[in-house]
């Protein structure tokens, strides 16, 4: 492990993040809401610290073309880079006086970058717009990935690119859309940008102003969930806006490689993709079931209202966005159970969604079925398949390992949160909401509550969980394995 090299690259990442603060700075100046100074100062600090690290740790040996970034270095850069992003991303909140404690700033910032959307803000609307814009922008940057962004724009990352890319976009099987990793990253960002532009325009048709449209687009496309209103999307009270956001949440929950192929006119690839089919079927079935229950229970007067609120909530939870237009805690118990299941599943692999990913859940089920099948046909030679492709054994064991670690860390986090005096349902829900990058949970952290009241220790643990979930466990947890540090 070449520490200088790792810090050198992280420096570049931090400087990059600093530069993106120019956008909220622009809004701050435009609105003149007093945020220009704290944001400008944060930007200055971030860029200078990052730049200094980049320059100071320059290692002539390591910058040579021949030196290849190792797998370990890639993981260390991505994991530490994310935490650094969280700290520096929290600076505007700290300097802007939004929060007094450091943990709140970091929590809010990493909740943004990791596209979780859990908030420690009590009164969102009282926060100046420049800062709100930065809060939503962190979603958008973190959604497609800050490393993927850097890969697309920083030429010198090309060499070790694949290591970084694999560490940030893990998934059971990473797709490479183009022969060069830089072009893959660029392509993904272009697709992301395109959808974001379309959604912004559509939201503006629905009567939102540019600021709100952009912020909600960032929250949607990144499957984040930060809103600019205290009552989230419900405050706009427009069926049109609800449906636009619902559709784009679903879009954001689908593998972006598929979107790329779709935009190239290969519609069949999308329809035939096994993961997409399961994802789409799940959405349809869950919406149907929940609609029936909430309508029968009398939560809503009309069928169309039931469908509207149900589809928004299902899409929001399943894709792990976390916007809310209704308080699902008022719904019948069975519907909450379904939504709880959705929290575990999450979006498709290669999407901006969190959770365990549809692909992994499918593989787990397929492999379990495989075990039953082998009991019936002891001599059968069979493979787990996704569509027509055989899933290799090492991928499967990787998925099992992920599953166990995910659940284990979820339980551990819930345990620590509960030990700070929080009730057990809330502890569990908060840990799930953070590790799954969802945002709201149930109990004390439901869609109408927030995370501000939790003790500091709980917030630190949950902050850590958000990064764990976003980088899909391995990249982060590996830092805590002694073997990783051995020379």
């Amino acid at each position: 492990m070449r520490w200088k090299y790792v810090l050198h690259i992280i420096g570049a990442l931090v400087a990059c993040i600093g530069l993106t603060m120019a956008f909220p700075l622009g809004w701050g100046l435009y609105y003149g809401d007093g945020t220009a100074y704290p944001i400008g100062l944060s930007m200055g600090i971030t860029v200078i610290v990052g730049g200094l690290a980049f320059a100071f740790f320059r290692d002539p040996e390591a910058s040579k073309k021949s030196s290849v970034m190792t797998h370990r270095e890639g993981m260390a850069i991505v994991a530490l880079g994310w935490f650094a992003a969280g700290v520096f991303g929290g600076l505007p909140f700290y300097l802007g006086g939004t929060f007094e404690s450091v943990v709140d700033c970091v929590f809010e910032s990493l909740s943004g970058f990791s596209t979780t959307g859990s908030s420690v803000l009590v009164d969102i609307e009282s926060v100046p717009r420049g800062l709100l814009f930065w809060r939503s922008l962190t979603h958008w940057l973190g959604g497609m990935g800050i490393i993927v962004l850097s890969l697309a724009i920083l030429p010198f990352l090309g060499v070790g690119g694949m290591q970084l890319y694999k560490a940030e976009v893990p998934g059971p099987s990473p797709d490479k859309l183009k022969p060069r990793i830089k072009d893959t990253a660029m392509t993904l960002w272009k697709v992301y940008l395109l959808f974001s532009a379309v959604e912004t325009v559509l939201l503006m048709f629905g009567g939102m102003d540019l600021f709100d449209s952009l912020c909600h687009t960032f929250g949607t496309m990144a499957t984040g969930g930060f809103s600019t209103r205290n009552t989230s999307v419900a405050s706009f009270d427009s069926a049109y806006i609800d449906y636009v956001i619902t559709v784009f949440m679903v879009i954001a929950g689908v593998n972006f490689s598929l979107h790329y192929l779709l935009l190239k006119g290969r519609f069949k690839v999308l329809i035939k993709d096994p993961e997409f089919r399961v994802f789409a079927t799940m959405i349809a079935i869950f919406i149907a079931i929940i609609t029936v229950f909430v309508y029968a229970e009398g939560n809503y007067d009309t069928v169309s209202d039931s469908i509207r609120y149900t589809s928004f909530q299902v899409a929001s939870i399943l894709t792990t966005t976390g916007f809310a237009t209704a308080d699902y805690e008022m719904w019948p118990g069975v519907t909450q159970a379904i939504l709880l299941f959705c929290m575990f599943v999450g979006g498709c692999a290669g999407s901006t969604g969190g959770g365990m990913k549809v692909m992994r859940i499918m593989l787990l089920f397929k492999q379990s079925y495989q075990e039953l099948f082998r009991l019936i046909h002891p001599r059968a030679v069979s493979h787990v398949k996704m569509g027509k492709t055989v899933v290799k054994d090492d991928v499967l064991s990787g998925v099992w390992g992920f599953f166990i670690l995910w659940l284990g860390l979820l339980v551990l986090a819930a345990f620590v949160v509960a030990s700070t005096g929080v009730d057990v349902v809330t502890s569990f829900a908060a840990a799930l909401a953070c590790i799954g990058n969802i945002g709201p949970g149930i109990g004390g952290v439901g869609p109408t509550d927030n995370f501000a009241w939790l003790p500091d220790i709980a917030k630190w643990v949950l902050t850590f969980c958000m990064v764990l979930g976003r980088l899909e466990i391995y990249t982060v947890i590996i830092l805590f394995v002694p073997e990783f540090w051995r020379k």
Partner: protein, 455 residues
């Protein structure tokens, strides 16, 4: 007519023997002295020792004067190369190549259109798979052949003992079966002898009956004949080689429950990776344990297609004794053919026979579209178009100078299938299905060819 055959293996041997009997000039090229000697001893052909892919040898064999060029060695590459050279030396020759590798057959168009301009790629494995699929499509039939692009079928059935047709004369058949159904009895096999019947022949108990019908009437006719077989759904394929794999792939859908038994671990992995629904089992086909474990007694059909015919025959017998409803076995060696039925195996498929059938149709003179051998090689059914200048056009069927032991089974006229009577007149562009014993084939060919060549 000069025919050059590359490869004196089983296919080369049989085809050269057949053609020599029909008085064609046959040149066989092979690298093995042994194989050439065997051919030279049994039939009147010229043999040349050497590689079929060598242009020098091809010139020596007189490729410039040849009409037909057959490349039927066991190597796809040699066959393709030989055809390419033949094409360069004499572009007008009809080139036929036996090619089995999927990597080539998937790109048939490249080989047939540009490049080698091979007239026809023959893949015996594919033909075998097709014949098994045909067998499955008509439960209860022993043999099925298709004509007129699949519109007309020649079906062989063993009549059940209580069939009401037993004991009736053939000219009474229509009354018994009903006038709407077009059926012609093409041949009867009695005690291993093939009879091309006349109206006076009587159907007897134990006869294997070959009949021709419109495919649309097929199911109704089978019912009338008293054959009520369950459709085939549960299938076990033994042997996951080329044929087994292709077959399993063809049965890879919701309708069939397919099991594929293979004894090589590596191959099993490959099969399981490339098949969706069929269950790939690893084990030995002669292991009773595994057959029982997989409910062999419930199988509608057990198809043994390993490369080893002894294994195939034994596994089929074992499966049958354990309760499998019907069995299909793949046999390469023609010598085993007479054995199959007496020992209780229901169907035989033979890649070489299939290859020969396909090759024959290209070798037949006149406008014969296809021809198949039935009952081993005892007879051949031909499909021919009556061209406008053909001597048979305008004549009544009874005036056609076909030899004895030869029967016009039916016509396809436009979309209709016409069952001819003595007075039926042959019209231009009719497709005739004719059955003939093997010895009479050249005479039939003569009748069908154009006037200039006619006697």
């Amino acid at each position: 007519m000069r025919v050059i055959i590359i490869g004196a293996g089983e296919v080369g041997f049989h085809i050269s023997q057949r053609l020599a009997v029909e008085n064609k000039e046959v040149v066989v090229i092979d690298t093995s002295d042994e194989a050439l000697r065997k051919i030279a001893e049994t039939s009147d052909v010229q043999t040349i020792k050497g590689s079929g892919s060598s242009p020098k040898i091809l010139e020596e064999a007189g490729v410039d004067k040849a009409d037909i060029f057959l490349a039927v060695t066991d190597s796809d590459e040699i066959n393709l190369l030989a055809c390419s050279f033949a094409n360069l030396l004499n572009p007008s020759v009809t080139k036929l190549a036996r090619v089995r590798g999927e990597m080539y057959t998937d790109y048939k168009h490249l080989l047939t259109e540009q490049g080698a301009e091979i007239t026809k790629i023959i893949n015996p494995d594919e033909e075998v798979v097709n014949s098994v699929l045909r067998l499955m499509s008509v439960p209860g039939a022993v043999e099925i052949n298709e004509f007129a692009n699949g519109k007309i079928r020649l079906i062989g059935v063993n009549l059940p003992e209580d069939s009401h047709l037993i004991g009736s004369k053939l000219y009474n058949l229509r009354e018994k079966i009903g006038d709407e159904l077009g059926i012609v009895i093409a041949a009867l096999v009695r005690d291993g002898e093939l009879i091309i019947p006349s109206g006076l022949d009587v159907i007897e108990k134990g006869d294997l009956v070959y009949f021709v019908c419109d495919i649309r009437d097929q199911d109704e006719i089978m019912r009338q004949l008293g054959i009520f077989a369950e459709p085939v759904r549960k299938v076990m394929i033994i042997g996951g080689g080329n044929i087994g794999f292709r077959l399993a792939k063809a049965l890879d859908n919701k309708y069939y429950h397919t099991r594929l038994l293979e004894n090589r671990q590596k191959r099993c992995e490959y099969l399981s990776e490339h098949l969706d629904r069929p269950i790939v089992l690893m084990g030995d086909s002669t292991d009773q344990e595994i057959l029982r474990e997989e409910n062999i007694q419930d199988m509608d059909m057990v198809i043994a297609v390993t490369g080893d015919e002894e294994t195939n025959i034994l596994s089929c017998l074992l499966a049958k004794s354990l309760g499998a409803k019907s069995t299909v076995t793949r046999v390469n060696n023609f010598g085993y053919m007479p054995l199959i039925e007496p020992i209780g195996i229901d169907y035989v498929v033979c890649p070489r026979q299939s290859a020969i059938n396909t090759l024959l149709h290209f070798i037949r003179r006149g406008k014969i579209i296809s021809s198949v051998s039935i009952k081993g090689e005892a007879a051949e059914a031909l499909e021919a178009v009556a061209q406008e200048d053909s001597p048979i056009v305008g004549k009544e069927v009874k005036d056609l100078k076909f030899p004895r032991g030869c029967l016009v089974l039916c016509f396809q006229r436009g979309d209709d299938v016409v069952i001819p009577r003595g007075e039926t007149v042959v019209e231009p562009n009719d497709r005739l299905i004719i059955i003939s014993t093997r010895q009479n084939i050249p005479k039939v060919e003569k009748v069908l060819t154009t006037k200039v060549e006619f006697f």
